[in-house]
Symmetry: C2
Subunit: 453 residues, 2 copies
């Protein structure tokens, strides 16, 4: 009898995958990180399945790697030898949407965009919108504290999480938070689980905040600049003017060139950067025109403002092509540093210098309003692991971000990829405290070991 | 030699109060809770003073009760026998305001409104505004995760806290969070300290988020209703219409009567509730007029909309009189439940029923947009402790709030006053986990013991 047989017996064969090829497909995320050989995959359909799995894992001291749809970019859901992959992707019920209270109660496998669409039927929206929102799950978003395009106005996943149901390492069920907008009883356990990358417990239900969907379609602008410096100055001026954009994305020349090569957007040879912004305020069209003027005042060579939703979609569509265009060029290490907004131009310069010094192609997209940059390091297709010069350039980017008062990761998480830099940011006291917290929740270290902290 | 003499030697006599009368004034907050007899009061002027105090306290196993200006309403800063009161009120430096990054770095003793005023010199604001903001400190706001009037739009103190410097129980210094708007390295320690009522560490510096101050003065309305039910319906309709008020306060008849008796606001005999709301949007005047129409559609007998900042101040001024007016009537137990917004009418009815059943005068003010109610239980001046019927009525209010899906405290904290009800909300697993976290940070249980959890 294999060790996993007792788990199969406890759950039923239909819930446990033991075919090695299928297991392998559940052991990966969107990074190049090679998984080990897990014992099996649990396809949980209920909280009880999760409880059974965790009790079994505690008893047998087997590591458990929780996952949603595996869209992570930091290796947080990559599973190691001898572990159990615990997939929450089949727990897809939207249990409740309350328009009066502006909340929803959802299972962790709900696709982010599905929740947003369900909310919009009631005139509401689910604000957090990671770029992967058509394929990522709410559970994964919570585990990584995912950001997105709209978070410049509406905040990150944490800001929409009100309460959680969590299965602890030993199978106990913990309820955190509440259904109310405010509440201060006890410590903030909800916040502690959000972004903890499955290392403290397995989220089996979440009460999230919805917001009123804007009454009018958002108004959008796109501005081209002859220098990244000018584009950075425009971002600062737009924010300082109190425009409160609901989206503010910056694309560099390498990214624009890749998009143009693929889909011909008529890129001018002098364009070094593009800024795409949106306002979803009730006077959004006026705000978009104000942002247009600020771009022109800061040296934009061309600014288009949408006058119809179709035109707006076309402008945003350029941003949506960014990753696909770069994936055509090679394998991609998608990075994720965040700096104080004023350090955006310095950070972009540092990325360009690192690219030149280490002879690496880097294309950068930034959630510019938040100072959150995604430099994408491009290397040869078919290469399993990024070559040494990519890591050298990445190291320079990370240490520069920290030197500028920033952080190693704005929204993707630490996972396995960032752990070797973690001590530079956290320091010894924070690391010790975090290990202490981990031990409270997971004394046997079976929950996603080797990730996050 | 008294035990405290070694602390006096370590800090200097100027920093340690040992006069019993002065100590007593530092051992209380704004509740009626009677303190014990602390050994002394440390008037910290720097992080080093706090480190010295905590090292001494750990060595001698002396409880430490941190405090700001003592405006708390839950007994969280009330000090017991043999403890040291650690006042942060003299650490009042605003170390940095960065308009470009929209952040400030402040010491814990900074008065909340002083930070807001300093920010406004740069076109920014500090959004959290507890009613006590002219006398409360940022450190106290962080320790209780204070709310306020504007949090219906801008969130609570947690939503403005980016990073903290904390002295741990053993004197180690921990830095949490960051200067960036987003960041997901490690567990959310910042969130864990916010609202922890000084039981996990002593905050000695905070990096907080500022926001652009609205360009135009807010537009304000006040509406009178013949029933609380109509007022509740108007709140729901205003929120559902996406008006995004920056303030939405509800006052009941008892409160209005107390204000009218004091300052004569011309209260009509038929008025049972007043709603005061504000919009600080760029099209705020139009939004206020829209809110006016919604109130009229929901049965308001009279609605005034301000057309000048002076008129707006006059309307808000009515709200500001609420506590003062009730304090004239007797000693006050200021309570603080929060329910899902749709349960606001049911909660108000339950408060009225509890008042009638137990023959207690209760006047209620609500941050109605958040479902956060402050029923104020009024009893005889000079009574040291609320009489049994007040506690019986309060018990009914608390248990009803929980039954309606709400919480024991929306923004004041648990302190000592709410601890006897805490298990009803938290449940055994959450309580156990919270005790585990407490032990990680404070294994000797010397930090504000007997509070919060």
């Amino acid at each position: 009898m294999r060790p996993i047989d007792s788990l199969v017996n406890a759950l039923s064969a239909a819930r446990v995958v033991t075919d090695p090829d299928v297991i392998d497909s559940y052991a990966r995320d969107r990074t190049f990180v090679e998984p080990g050989k897990p014992l099996g995959v649990v396809l949980a359909t209920s909280r009880d399945d999760v409880v059974t799995t965790m009790r079994w894992a505690s008893e047998h001291r087997v590591p458990v790697v929780p996952r949603g749809s595996g869209t992570g970019l930091a290796g947080g859901a990559v599973a190691g030898d001898g572990s159990i992959v615990l997939s929450l992707a089949k727990m897809t019920a939207i249990r409740e949407i309350s328009p009066a209270d502006e909340i929803a109660v959802v299972e962790p496998g709900v696709i982010t965009a599905d929740l947003d669409r369900a909310a919009r039927e009631h005139g509401l929206m689910y604000a957090p919108d990671p770029s992967s929102y058509e394929i990522s799950t709410i559970g994964g978003n919570l585990a990584t504290n995912a950001g997105g395009l709209r978070c410049v106005k509406y905040g990150v996943t944490r800001d929409s999480a009100l309460g959680l149901e969590v299965v602890l390492a030993d199978g106990r069920v913990l309820d955190t938070g509440r259904r109310t907008m405010k509440g201060v009883t006890g410590y903030d356990l909800t916040g502690l689980f959000v972004g903890s990358e499955g290392t403290l417990g397995v989220i089996t239900s979440a009460t999230v905040r919805l917001r009123r969907a804007p009454a009018v379609p958002p108004a959008t602008f796109a501005a081209e600049f002859g220098s990244l410096r000018d584009a950075g100055a425009a971002v600062a001026a737009i924010m300082a003017a109190g425009c409160q954009p609901s989206l503010m994305e910056l694309l560099d020349r390498t990214t624009l060139q890749a998009i143009d090569d693929w889909r011909n957007i008529g890129l001018e040879s002098t364009t070094q950067a593009m800024l795409i912004g949106q306002s979803d305020a009730s006077d959004g069209q006026a705000v978009a025109e104000r942002m247009q003027r600020i771009c022109e005042d800061n040296g934009a060579s061309f600014v288009a403002v949408s006058s119809t939703p179709a035109e707006a979609e076309e402008l945003i569509g350029i941003r949506r092509l960014a990753y696909g265009a770069k994936e055509r060029l090679g394998a991609c290490l998608v990075e994720d540093v965040c700096v104080p907004r004023s350090a955006l131009p310095a950070m972009i310069s540092a990325i360009e210098e690192a690219a030149a010094r280490h002879d690496v192609l880097i294309g950068t997209v930034a959630h510019a309003g938040d100072g959150n940059l995604h430099p994408v390091f491009i290397f040869d297709h078919g290469t399993v692991e990024p070559p040494a010069n990519v890591w050298a350039a990445a190291d320079e980017v990370f240490t520069t971000a920290l030197r500028l008062g920033g952080t190693l990761t704005g929204e993707h998480g630490v996972g396995t990829l960032k752990r070797r830099w973690l001590a530079l940011e956290a320091g010894p006291v924070a690391s010790e405290v975090q290990r202490g917290i981990k031990a409270v929740f997971d004394p046997l270290d079976i929950l996603n070991p080797g990730k996050a902290i």
